[in-house]
């Protein structure tokens, strides 16, 4: 444990200038749900900690049918979980938020923090990936946009340059007849990290029509959260059947090379990817045809604890 200097930014400009001044070994915190734990464990040893929790303007979440969802980096996971438009239009995202830790952590943890920590198992990330989220990054030279699937470069590593921070995530409005689902498999039903997390999205051309879009994203099975492009390609433009979904699930399973760790062996993880890809796709297809599930029901199906 190393002592650090603590700074608070009130505006984005201030946060950026603090990062420029101290960027070499500074860490941004907001909800700080990871920071103190990792600092106490000696894993993070910054010289400066820059708290952005009170930066104005980053705590808003809005939805419009035209522009979709705009989530400020400081929006808490709890707010995401409870937001009516998220529950209705982005069910996999609401369910992923509900599966995140416990309410005591969700009230603190932010969407920006979950993304910027760049954990392979970050719960909101697979759901944001299937909805095609984009990140607004601000820095000394202004702002730039990066698609979320281009944001991660490794475990804990992102495309953020020195002096930059994530300000906002935008998620396009889903097409009509879209269903989505997230399943998190973990040892404990709360306050735990995913052994495997899978989000799927299906859009249909009409209520019964062929699949116009399919997306699958996987957590905790690669150095970063990843899209399962091979599985998606099998489903896109096809008339969907249980059999085709199984073929796609097998493709997702065959496409990952997870690692062994305390939560599961590589072989176990691979199996689980196949099972969860199939289940999330089946559920997404069902919702695409019939409309979204009641939130509590979707939450029950999302949290799949081993014990």
């Amino acid at each position: 444990m190393k002592r650090f200097e603590y700074l608070e930014a009130r505006t984005l400009r201030q946060a950026i200038s603090m990062l420029q001044r101290h960027g070499g070994n500074a860490r941004i915190v907001a909800g700080s749900t990871d920071f103190l734990v990792r600092w106490r464990a000696g894993l993070w040893n910054p010289d400066h900690v820059i708290n952005i929790q009170r930066v104005a303007g980053l705590g808003r979440i809005t939805y419009s049918a035209r522009n979709g969802l705009r989530i400020g980096a400081l929006v808490t996971i709890r707010t995401l979980e409870q937001h009516p438009a998220v529950r209705r239009r982005y069910p996999a995202l609401a369910a992923a938020a509900a599966s995140f830790a416990g309410v005591q952590v969700r009230n603190l943890a932010t969407v920006g923090g979950n993304i910027c920590n760049a954990s392979p198992s970050g719960d909101t990330i697979p759901a944001l990936l299937v909805f095609g989220a984009e990140c607004r990054i601000v820095g000394p030279d202004g702002e730039r946009w990066v698609a979320l699937d281009q944001f991660f470069t490794g475990p804990g590593q992102t495309v953020l340059h020195a002096g930059e921070l994530l300000a906002e995530v935008r998620v396009p409005p889903p097409a009509a007849n879209t269903g989505s689902h997230y399943i998190k498999h973990s040892p404990r039903g709360a306050m735990d990290i995913a052994t495997v997390g899978v989000a799927s999205l299906i859009s249909l051309d009409g209520r019964t029509g062929p699949c116009s879009e399919a997306r699958v994203a996987l957590g905790a099975v690669a150095p970063t959260p990843v899209r399962a492009y091979a599985a998606e390609d099998i489903l896109r433009v096809q008339a969907l059947s249980g059999r085709l979904i199984q073929v796609a699930a097998t493709a997702a399973q065959d496409g990952v090379s997870p690692i062994d760790d305390i939560r599961g062996s590589a072989a176990h993880r691979k199996e689980i990817v196949g099972v969860l890809t199939r289940r999330t796709l089946e559920q997404a297809l069902d919702s695409a045809a019939k409309g979204p599930m009641v939130f509590e029901e979707q939450r029950r199906l999302t949290i799949q604890a081993a014990f």
Binding site: V37, V49, V105, M191
Partner: protein
């Protein structure tokens, strides 16, 4: 370097002079001598340190004390009205929702936070709301019974 901060705890303005790495939990316990809030795991797994921060249940072990500057905190010490227990405390006593009692302040604060929110107090929502609190002796059946009894006495409807 230590810096001063002020936090309203149970309605009373408290000042402290703490290092930047101090958690809200350590500030409450060690600087303000409010030891009702318990330290279990100190890493956000067990929920024993749950307090209400600006009305919402949080793990106080994860909160940087300085980040709670000017905030309002309610701890277990702030629930009873003199000798009269808060309805949630009373229900835990009547329904045997505790044995050793170490997890109890956290469970009670999580319950109070849940009942002050706007979720329907169904069995499933109660269990989800308390999923972040570990109890290693009573188990959870009597805790859930106590919460349901508290729902009845505080006038919240179950489905």
């Amino acid at each position: 370097m230590k810096k001063s901060l002020q936090i309203t705890v149970n309605g009373e303005l408290n000042q402290a002079f703490v290092e930047p790495y101090y958690s809200l939990l350590d500030t409450l316990r060690d600087e303000m001598q409010m030891t009702g809030t318990k330290k279990g795991c100190d890493e956000g797994d067990c929920g024993a340190c749950t307090v209400l921060l600006n009305g919402k249940p949080v793990c106080s072990c994860l909160v940087l004390a300085h980040s709670a500057h000017d905030g309002e905190v309610i701890t277990i010490e702030g629930l009873a009205n003199g000798q009269e227990l808060h309805p949630v405390q009373q229900a835990f006593v009547e329904y045997g929702g505790l044995q050793c009692g170490y997890c109890t302040p956290g469970l009670i604060m999580a319950t109070v936070g849940f009942l002050e929110g706007d979720e329907e107090p169904t069995d499933e929502n109660i269990k989800h709301a308390l999923g972040g609190n570990l109890c290693r002796c009573t188990g959870y059946t009597k805790v859930i019974e106590a919460v349901k009894a508290a729902v009845a006495t505080t006038g919240r409807k179950t489905e």
